[in-house]
């Protein structure tokens, strides 16, 4: 292509009248040929002067300076975008995990918190896990049964720690929280939370069969532990 053809293309491109394919090729040449860029700039000045628009002469490297700042900025911008794309899901997951963690802590801490209050009502529980003799081995004249007979209180029984708060009612607000949370939490977290809660509930409602081996009357003591 002759230089004149190239310049003719430049003039047409300046007017937005060059086909897109030719524009692309010429753009590449413009990027590396300073003379063509200067000519493009003078075409702009000619048009402005013809329209009596105010123009000022600018430094020859003005456009280059702008271009270099934009190039540096573009690098930073793309890095920021990558960071933003990485942080978005990560922060979302962290938020969900945080809410789930708090919910678990609240659920679990709810039980021991109420335990002291319960202890006030439930004065004595035989803390040492005394191994009681098997029922079959007991005899009416055994000291075990006789010792307990006058007060009709069990001499000893085993209470696992979980049964301490066995009859604690989960506050309605907490139940509402878990239900509300389950609407937004991922299935895994939801299942974990619900199973933890339901598991607790089962412990609370089911008879603590393993918690009390026997009392002196051979009956299961009341679940609240009052004896």
């Amino acid at each position: 292509m002759s230089h004149e053809q190239l310049e003719s293309q430049l003039s047409a491109m300046y007017d937005g009248e060059l086909p897109a394919a030719e524009c692309e090729l010429l753009s590449r040449r413009l990027a590396r040929e300073e003379l063509l860029r200067a000519r493009w700039s003078r075409y702009a000045m000619i048009g402005a002067v013809m329209r009596s628009e105010p123009v000022a002469a600018v430094s020859g490297d003005f456009a280059r300076r702008v271009s270099s700042v934009i190039a540096a900025d573009a690098g930073r911008f793309s890095l920021r975008r990558v960071a933003a794309q990485w942080w978005k899901p990560a922060s979302g997951a962290a938020l969900v995990a945080g809410v789930a963690g708090i919910a678990i802590l609240v659920l679990r801490s709810g039980l021991p918190v109420q335990a002291p209050a319960l202890a006030a009502v439930q004065p004595t529980v035989a803390a040492p896990a005394t191994v009681a003799p098997p029922l079959a081995t007991l005899r009416p004249d055994s000291g075990y049964a006789l010792a307990a007979a006058p007060s009709r209180e069990p001499a000893s029984y085993v209470v696992p720690p979980r049964s301490l708060g066995a009859d604690v009612d989960v506050p309605a607000s907490l139940a509402s929280f878990v239900v509300a949370h389950s609407e937004y939490s991922p299935p895994l977290v939801r299942r974990h939370l619900l199973s933890a809660w339901i598991g607790n509930d089962l412990v609370q409602t089911s008879p603590p069969s393993s918690s009390v081996l026997f009392n002196d009357a051979g009956a299961v003591p009341p679940a609240n532990g009052t004896n």
Binding site: A44, P54, S67, A71
Partner: protein, 226 residues
């Protein structure tokens, strides 16, 4: 009290947004084509927009900042701001109308910062009339050298146009002053579009040849100015 240099009548440099909904023609179509290429990721196309409007933007900023170096710094900021905002440019108005607004607001903010006035807010005036107290502080930025250069450029361009053959002059005038497309000029001049393209190119070349003489030795700053 310094006399304001803000023209009382319509601002000749302010592009009108009246044709906002009309399809872009002429220079607007060319700009929009470049803008779309930039938006598609071709950064080189933005260089062409900078080269195209640098003289006008620097001149516009010089209405607010006397120093040419300061004006170029602010103009640089204008182009960088515009580039960052370009993804949001939808083409509802002409590119230069949009760029003009950015330039005015950036220049006002720069002037405000330099005069140590509180500038913790973004000024968003659409024209000098909306900010009279600042407009009254505007100075004539034209230095004798700048005026001489501008006059030289004008005289050269006007002289070159006068010397053009009639067909070339008509073609370039219809293009640059009337903003007609090649096809419209072809209809108007009753010739093929290719001929229009050739005539406009030859007219530009003739004018540019004279203009290069100004830059190449006329005022002593030629090597570093375009």
């Amino acid at each position: 009290m310094a006399k304001s240099t803000i023209p009382s009548g319509p601002d000749r440099t302010a592009p009108t947004a009246g044709a906002a909904n009309a399809p872009p023609t002429g220079a607007d179509a060319g700009d929009l084509s470049l803008v779309r290429r930039v938006q598609a990721g071709e950064r080189g196309a933005y260089d062409l927009l900078v080269l195209k409007y640098q003289h006008k933007v620097v001149k516009l900023v010089m209405r607010y900042l006397r120093d040419v170096g300061d004006a170029e710094d602010v103009a640089q900021e204008v182009f960088i701001k515009a580039y960052r905002a370009l993804p949001q440019f939808r083409g509802d108005s002409a590119f230069y109308t949009w760029l003009y607004r950015i330039a005015i607001n950036t220049a006002k903010n720069a002037l405000s910062a330099r005069e140590r006035t509180p500038s913790g807010y973004e000024l968003d005036a659409q024209g000098p009339d909306e900010w009279p107290e600042m407009a009254s502080r505007l100075r004539d930025p034209d230095t004798p050298e700048g005026l001489a250069l501008t006059d030289e450029i004008r005289n050269t361009v006007n002289g070159a146009i006068s010397a053009l053959p009639e067909d070339l002059r008509t073609a370039i005038v219809l293009r640059e002053l009337e903003g007609m497309s090649y096809e419209e000029i072809a209809v108007s001049m009753d010739c093929p579009v290719g001929t229009v393209r050739s005539r406009i190119f030859r007219a530009r070349e003739a004018i540019d040849r004279q203009l290069r003489k100004v830059f190449d030795g006329g005022l002593g700053r030629s090597e570093e100015l375009v």
